[in-house]
Amino acid sequence: MSVTLDKVSREVNGVSWIRDVSLTLERGTLSVLLGPTLSGKTSIMRLLAGLDKPTSGRILVDDKDVTGFDVRKRSVAMVYQQFINYPTLSVYENIASPLRVQGVARDEIETRVRDAAKLLKLEPYLHRTPLQLSGGQQQRTAIARALVKGADLVLLDEPLANLDYKLREELRTELPRIFEESGAIFVYATTEPSEALLLGGRTICMGEGRVLQVGATPQVYRRPDTMEVAEVFSDPPLNTVGIEKKNGSIFYSGGERASVAGLYESLSDGAYKVGFRAHQLEVAAASPGRHAFVTTVSVTEITGSESFVHLKRDGYNWVAVLPGIHEFLPGQELDAVLDPNDLFIFDQTGRLVAAPAAR
C-alpha cells in the first residue's frame, strides 16, 4: 500500500502553507518530516490524514484519488504533541476505543489491546485513567491507541515534545522497535535532527512549505543538497563562515588566511560559504594541516556527557562540542581549528559544492 502526494499546495487566506509538494510513501517505511516550526510539517500531516483539503494537487492511496475523502473514510491514525486521551476512560478502554467503533469482536479486542499494551509497557496501568498517569505513560497510551487500530498510515506530530528530557530519551529509543513491528506507513514530524538520526528511515527535510530534500536519513545528514538543508539538519546550529579563494589561498572573512588544502582544492576561485557542524570544530591549538581561529567564549552548555561551547568570532556565533565536562568561562579566549577535509562548502546560491567523503 502506498500513499502519494502529487503536486500538492495549500493556501489559507492568501498565506501559502504548502508549496507544490510531491512525495510517495511506501508500506512498512518510516518517513521523518524534519523542519523548523511553521515549515509545513503539521499541514502535510493534516493533508495526509484528510483533515484538510489541498488547494491544488491530488492525494492518492494505491493510485486511487482520495483527495475529496473525509478523514473518517481513510485508514489513518494520529498521535499529537499534547497527550490526547479520553479522560474518563481507563487505559484499557482508551486503547480499545477504535476497535469498539469498528465493531471488532470482544476476544479479539482483548488480544489486540493486551498486545499493544505489552509493546508499550502499559500492562501494569491498564485499569488507571489517563490523569492518574505520568506524561510519558499518557503519551504511550495515545501511541497504543493509534497502533491498535491497524491503520495503514500512522502520523505522529512531535509526540515527544511535551515530555521531560529523560522520558523523551527513553521513549525515543523504544520507538524504532515499535515502528518495525507494526508494518504500517509511519510519518513522524520533528524539529530535532537527533530524533531523525535516531529513528533512521527516510528523512523529508522541509522549509517554508517546500520539500527541500528527501532521502535515507544518514544520506541527507552527510550530503545536504543546500545550505538550508544543512541548517535544518544540524543541532546545535550549523556554524558558518564566508570564504574567498584567490591567488592560491583561502581568505576567511574575519581575517585568517590559510593554504588551499583538502576540499578547497577542487574549488575554482571565488566566494563561497563554508558550513561545519559543532563536532567538526575542534578546540585545540593550531597545528599543521588545520585552519586555526581565535575565538571568545560566550557560555559553555554542559549535558554531562558532552559540553557545548558557544564561541564568538568576528560577529559570527559558533558552537563546538567536546566530550566530557569542560568549564570555559564567558569572555575566555580559546583556539579552535578546522580540518579542511571535514566541512561543507556551498556556493553563493547555497548549493552544495563539496562535502566530506563518505566513511
Binding site: L51, D52, K53, D70, V71
Partner: protein, 300 residues
C-alpha cells in the same frame, strides 16, 4: 481549520429556516411595509414614503418630539445604571471568596435576582415602594422623606434605577468573578514579591485582565437597559406624566394605544437600527482587542 463540507447538513437546517422565516422574517417585512404607509390597520394603506422617518428626526413634530425625548431618557438611564452597576459589580466580584463552600453559597445568592421574571420584579418594587403598604415607601415616609414615585418624577427615576441595580448587578458581578478566577496565581505572587499595595494589584493586574469580561458586561447591560420595557412599565406606567416614558413604552403607546401603525413601524425600525449599530461598534472593538491580544502573546 477547514470544516468538512457536508451538503446533507443543509437539509437539517431547513425546518429551522422555515420556522424562523415564518415567525420572524415575514413579520419583519410587514413592519417595513407598514413603516412607509399611513395606516390604522383595517387594510387601508396610504403611501407615505419616508415621511414617518423624517418626522421621527424632527423635534418640531409631535412624533419627533416624543421620540427624541424618550431616546434621551433611555440614554440617561443607561448611562446612570452603567455608572452604578459596573463598579458595584466589580466590587462584589472582588469581595467574593475564591474557594471553599462559601463560593457556591455566594453564587446562588447572586443568581437569585436574575431568576425572577421581569414583570414580577416590576411588581415587587411597585408594591415595595408604595407609601401605604410598601415596606420601603412606608419607612422612607416615616423617616420624614416625602417619597412618592407616582407623583414625583425624581422619586420615580430613583425607584426604577435602584430596581435595575438590584436586578442586574449580579450579572456584572458573576461575569467579573469569572474573569478574576482566570488570572493565574503567579501574577498575585509576583505582585507580592514586588511589594505591590492592594490598589496597585487591582489597577495593574486585576482590572487589565478583566478588560474582556467587562466589555461583555457593559455590552449586555447597555443593550438590555436600552431596550427596557417591563420593569419600569409595571412600576410607573411611564409616569408621572411622561418622565419615565422610554422609547419602548412610547412605541407601545403609539402602536397599541393609538393604533397609529405606520408611525409605530417606523419608530421600531429606527429603534432597532440604533441597537444594531451600537452592538456592531462594541463587537468591532471587542474583536480588535482580541486580535491585539493574539498578536502580542503570539501563541506562546
Amino acid at each position: 481549520m477547514d470544516k468538512t463540507i457536508n451538503n446533507k447538513a443543509w437539509f437539517l437546517v431547513l425546518p429551522v429556516f422555515l420556522i424562523v422565516a415564518f415567525s420572524a422574517i415575514l413579520p419583519l417585512m410587514t413592519v417595513v411595509n407598514y413603516s412607509v404607509q399611513d395606516t390604522f390597520g383595517n387594510n387601508q394603506f396610504f403611501w407615505n414614503g419616508v415621511g414617518w422617518f423624517k418626522e421621527l428626526l424632527d423635534p418640531s413634530t409631535d412624533l419627533g418630539d416624543r421620540f427624541l425625548a424618550s431616546l434621551g431618557r433611555n440614554l440617561l438611564f443607561s448611562a446612570i445604571i452603567l455608572a452604578i452597576e459596573v463598579p458595584l459589580g466589580i466590587l462584589v466580584a472582588l469581595s467574593m471568596p475564591r474557594e471553599g463552600w462559601r463560593v457556591a453559597a455566594c453564587l446562588v445568592i447572586l443568581a437569585l435576582p436574575l431568576l425572577i421574571p421581569w414583570n414580577v420584579v416590576g411588581t415587587i418594587w411597585q408594591i415595595f415602594g408604595r407609601p401605604d403598604i410598601g415596606l420601603l415607601g412606608y419607612t422612607l415616609n416615616k423617616l420624614g422623606l416625602n417619597y412618592n414615585y407616582v407623583s414625583n418624577s425624581l422619586d420615580a427615576w430613583a425607584t426604577i434605577i435602584v430596581m435595575d441595580v438590584w436586578h442586574w448587578t449580579s450579572l456584572v458581578a458573576l461575569l467579573c468573578y469569572a474573569g478574576l478566577k482566570s488570572i493565574p496565581d503567579a501574577y498575585y505572587q509576583a505582585a507580592q514579591i514586588d511589594g505591590a499595595s492592594r490598589w496597585a494589584v487591582f489597577t495593574a493586574i486585576q482590572l487589565p485582565k478583566m478588560k474582556r469580561v467587562l466589555l461583555i458586561a457593559v455590552l449586555l447591560r447597555f443593550m438590555d437597559s436600552f431596550m427596557i420595557y417591563t420593569e419600569p412599565f409595571v412600576v410607573t406606567g411611564g409616569g408621572p406624566g411622561n418622565s419615565t416614558t422610554f422609547v419602548s413604552i412610547e412605541l407601545v403607546k403609539i402602536a397599541l394605544g393609538q393604533f397609529d401603525l405606520g408611525k409605530a413601524a417606523a419608530l421600531s425600525i429606527v429603534y432597532n437600527l440604533i441597537i444594531l449599530i451600537v452592538c456592531w461598534v462594541f463587537y468591532t472593538v471587542m474583536t480588535n482587542a482580541d486580535n491585539e491580544r493574539a498578536q502580542t502573546t503570539g501563541g506562546a
